[in-house]
Amino acid sequence: MPPQPLVTARRLRKVYGKPGAREFTAVDGIDFEVRRGEAFGLLGANGAGKSSTMRMIACVSPVSGGDLTILGRDAATDGPAIRARLGVVPQDDTVDTELTVRENLLIYGRYFGLSKVEVRRRAAELLEFARLTEKADESVGALSGGMRRRLTIARALVNSPDIVLLDEPTTGLDPQARHLLWERLFQLKREGVTLLLTTHYMDEAEQLCDRLVVMDSGRIVAEGAPAELISRYTTREVVELRLTDGDRATYGDELRSLVARFEDLADRLLLYTDDGEDVLSRAHATGARPITALVRRSTLEDVFLTLTGRSLVD
C-alpha cells in the first residue's frame, strides 16, 4: 500500500467576498498531493492564488469548496489539531513587534502549550539555527529584513512541525541571505521535515523543489519534477537576442522562421531549440546585429512562459 499523502486537495476552491456581486474566485478547483519528506512548490505570478492556497492549508482561512485533508484530518473541522503539527511562514513577516527576538520564540512556543523549560531550550537552539543569538535580546525593530525573515522561520519551527509552509521565503533578501536560507531549508529536509513553499524565483524552485505545480489564475496548469517539466514543455536550449528596434522590425520575421517556438518579449527575443549554437550562427547569417546574444539551458521560467504566455516576474 502506498503511503498516505500528508496533504491531499480535491477540487479545492477559495472564494472571497459576499456571494453574488463582489464574489471573487482566487482558487478554482485544484487537485494535488504532498508526500512525506518532499519539498513541494507552488509556482505562479502575482495573484495566481498561491497564498490563498497556503492559507487554507495552514487552516487560517476557511475552505470555500472541495476537500482538504492534512495529516489525515479534515482542514474544515480539525484546524487546531492540524495547526499543532504545522510550522507557518506567512508571506509578510508578522513577528511580534512589542517583544524582543528571544521573547518572540518563547511566547510562540507557549501558544503551542509547550512548557517553560521546553521553550527555553527550543529558543536557544533556534536562535543558533537562525544565526540570531547575538541579537537575542534586541527588539525586533532593530532587525534587518533578512534577519526578520529568519526569525519568522525559526519561530515556525518551535513546535518541531511535521510540515513547514513557506510563502515566498526569500522574497526581498539579498543573494547571500537567500543562500543561507536555502541551506537551512535543505537541513530541515534532511531531518525529514516536509516542505511546502511558494516562490517567484525559478532558480529557487529548481534548487529546492522535488515536485511542483504551476498555478495560473487559480488553476493548476502543470505538475511534475522541475527537470520533467522542462523536458515536457520546452526545448533543451534557448537563444536570447537583444536587438535594436530597427533590427527587430527588419529581421523579426526571418528570425522567427528559424525555430519552431519563439517568444517576443518587451526587451528580448527567445528562440527555442535543441541546438543553440546552430540557431545562433543562422541568426547571425540573416544579417541581424544583436546588441547581446547568448545561448542558455531552458529553465522553469521558459516553462512558465510557454504555459501562460507571460513572464513570471512582472
Binding site: R36, V60, G72, R83, A84, T94, R110, Y111, F112, L114
Partner: protein, 275 residues
Amino acid sequence: MTAAVDLPTPTLSGRPPARSGGARAMVLRNVMIYRHTWPLLAAEVFEPVLYLVSFGIGIGALVGHVPGTAGTGEGAVRYPQFVAPALLATAAMNGAMNETTFNMFGKLRTDRTYESILTTPMTVWDVALGETCWALLRGALVTAGFLLVVLALGLVGSAWALLVLPSALLIGFAFASLGLLVVTLLRNWQDFQLIQLVMLPMFLFATTFYPLGVYPRPVQLLVECLPLYQSIELLRQPFLGQVGPALLVPAAYLLVFGTASLAVALRRLETTLRG
C-alpha cells in the same frame, strides 16, 4: 520519492490531543510586554489621583459633607470619601477598556499580531478570553494602586472597602468585554473620538461628583442604566460601610452586561480574524 515508502506516515490519530497555550498564553504575552512598560500602569494610577486631589479635596473644602447621604454632623459622608469610590470605579473601567480598545486595535489592524497567533493551535476564543482576562487584571491592578493612595490619604473609613478589589475585577470584566465588542466596530483611529464622545459624558454624569438625587426622576432612570453608574454603586456602598443585598443589583447588572458583550464580540471577532 522512494525514500517515503518505508517511513510510517504520520497522521494525527495516534497522537495525544492538540495542546494549545490557551487564554493563559495570551496573558503571558501581556505580562512579558508589561515587564518592559510597567511605568504606563503607574501613569494610569496618577490620573485618578489628580481628580481626587483637585475635585475631592479642593472642591471638598467648599462642600464639606455631602447632602442627602447621612445628614450632617458626625456620621455624614465627607466629599472626598464620596468621590474616591467613583474614581476607583472609573480607574477599573478605563484600565480594562483601554486595553481592549486602544491596545487591541493596533494588534488587530496595524501589527496583525493575532494573525500570527492564529496560525498556532490557539483559537479566536483563546485570544479573546486571554485579552479580556489580562484587561480586567490590569484594571484591578490600577484600582489596587489607587486604593493604596486613597488609604494613605486617610479616606478609607470601613474595612468593607476591601470589597473594592473583587468588585474592580467584575467592573474590569464588564468593560473589557465592552471594549472587545467596540474594537470590532472601529474602522480607523479617528473612530476613537466617538468613544471619547460617549465615555466623557458618562464619566461626568454617572454620579461621580454628586449624588443621584440631584437629577429629576426621568433623568435618574436614564443615569441608572449606565454601566459606570452601576459600577460606582458597586464600589461606593461598601466603601462607605453600607453592605447589603442591594449590592446584588449592580453585580448582576455588570455580569450580564459583560457576558452579553463578550458573546457578541466573539462572534464578530471570529469573522474579522478568520477571513
